[in-house]
């Protein structure tokens, strides 16, 4: 199972790592209770500062997606444990929708795109 990191992506590396793990969890490729590599392993494989991966893991922990257990590493958290408010969850969707509107896409196209993406994510997570 791979995460992809792109140097031409404007997002910082820690964000790419966090987003990549989130996507894999959403698609069901990283199941509940699955172990994640230690910070040192990911940092060494990618050749980045230890803090870069630690920041990504902290963000995932803050979002309730992973649990960091001292001594036994990181595991994907139970989905039921995610107690984030709807408003908090809607925030990135609003940002993405704003970007699409500003890019000049029609509401119909946006709706189609969102439906298609949701369908893909939902299908893979089953």
């Amino acid at each position: 199972m791979f995460l992809t990191i792109d140097t031409s992506d404007p997002r910082p590396i820690y964000q790419q790592v966090a987003d990549g793990v989130k996507e894999l969890i959403a698609r069901g490729k990283l199941a509940e209770g699955a172990g994640l590599p230690p910070v040192r392993q990911l940092a060494a494989d990618l050749g980045v500062n230890l803090n870069t991966i630690a920041t990504a893991y902290r963000e995932l922990q803050k979002d309730g997606l992973i649990v960091i257990k001292h001594g036994s590493g990181c595991v994907v958290a139970s989905r039921a444990a995610t107690d984030r408010s709807h408003d908090e969850l809607l925030r990135p969707l609003r940002t993405a929708l704003t970007e699409m509107v500003l890019a000049g896409l029609s509401s119909k196209t946006i709706l189609n795109l969102v439906t298609k993406e949701l369908g893909m994510v939902w299908k893979e997570s089953k």
Binding site: M1, T7, G20, D45, L46, G47, N49, L50
Partner: protein, 352 residues
């Protein structure tokens, strides 16, 4: 068979293995065909021009260990202290590997001047494996139990043997060799940990192939470590048996031990060669790429040693070669291991 005779046989075997190694290393630059020189994508006329000289110089450097070995071996045979051949082999093994690493690094650096223009451009996309690598995932529990139990039984037997009549036994003779063997075991475990931590940077293109080649190589090296550990455990078990044997029985035991060792070495050597070929074929299938340097290692690694706590690597690659990161946990473990080895050898003369 005397120790001198066995030393000569081991030395002859070492020469056979070395000649094979020379052929293998000689083919390495052209493993991917004429468009490549090791991992450098070179211009089409490389091997007809300057590349020819670089290749010849690389081949010539392979003979440096021979230049040291031959006069030393002649001296050893001349003075008749054939036991020294074993130490010569140990020294040459280290020299051959260091010489090869240096030689490949130098040849690649020289060849980069003739690389195709876009070859040095780092890839923009990398793949990152999310599979945790732990030592226990590469460990055979049955083998570990067998080695641990046999060592404990052998050591318990040695303690009993010594305590029965301590005035008749030399502490160093009874426990010296098994202690060194146990320390070697710890060294192999340390090496295994370093191999598990061995980084796997992977480009997005051919990610699965790159990962498979690296994983196969990792498993091979770990298996070689386990074979050596099994041999060390067998030596620990052999020790109390040897101590208990009569002088005539000891000679027979030593011959049996040597015959088993020789057979295992020859069979193991053939298996290793087959596996090495498979690994080389696997490595040749993946296209080498330059990966982005997020850490700006050339700024961090300006001297042979450095202290960079936030860099997760043991070795940082600078403009003029590698730099050992003293802040890395493996460097600390390595230092502790070396210190322990020195203490062990310092304590030896004190034991009677």
């Amino acid at each position: 068979m005397s120790i001198d005779q066995s030393a000569v046989i081991i030395y002859v075997l070492f020469w056979i293995v070395r000649i094979n190694g020379c052929f293998r290393r000689g083919r390495q630059p052209l493993l991917r065909g004429k468009e490549w020189f090791f991992n450098v994508h070179v211009q089409p006329d490389f091997y007809t021009g300057d590349g020819r000289k670089i290749l010849h110089r690389y081949w010539m450097r392979m003979f440096i260990p021979f230049a040291l070995d031959i006069p030393l071996a002649i001296t050893i045979f001349h003075i008749g202290r054939l036991g020294l051949l074993q130490w010569l082999i140990v020294g040459l093994c280290a020299l051959i590997h260091l010489n090869h690493l240096y030689s490949v690094e130098l040849a690649e650096r020289q060849a980069r001047r003739f690389a195709v223009p876009e070859a040095d451009q780092p890839v923009t996309s990398m793949a990152l494996s999310l599979t945790p690598r732990r030592l226990r995932d590469y460990t055979n529990p049955y083998l570990e139990w067998v080695m641990a139990l046999s060592s404990v039984v052998a050591l318990a037997w040695l303690v009993r043997y010594y305590l029965a009549t301590p005035e008749h036994h030399n502490l160093r003779l009874v426990f010296g060799t098994p202690l060194v063997m146990l320390y070697l075991q710890a060294g192999y475990l340390f090496l295994k940990r370093a191999l598990v931590a061995w980084r796997t940077p992977t480009p997005r293109v051919q990610a699965a192939e790159h990962m498979e080649a690296r994983e196969e190589a990792r498993k091979y090296y770990l298996k070689v470590c386990d074979w050596h550990r099994a041999a060390v455990a067998a030596a620990i078990v052999f020790w109390p048996i040897a101590l208990n044997a009569s002088p005539a029985g000891l000679d027979r035991l030593r011959n049996i031990w040597f015959a088993i060792w020789l057979t295992v070495t020859v069979v193991g050597g053939v298996l290793v060669e087959i596996k090495r070929r498979q690994l080389a074929a696997m490595a040749a299938r993946v296209r080498p790429v330059t990966l982005p340097d997020f850490l700006h290692q050339s700024d961090l690694a300006r001297s042979p040693v450095c202290y960079q706590p936030s860099a997760p690597l043991l070795l940082l690659k600078g403009a003029h070669g590698y730099s050992l990161n003293l802040a890395n946990g493996l460097a600390h473990l390595g230092a502790v291991y070396l210190a322990g080895l020195i203490v062990l050898f310092a304590l030896f003369p004190l034991a009677h």
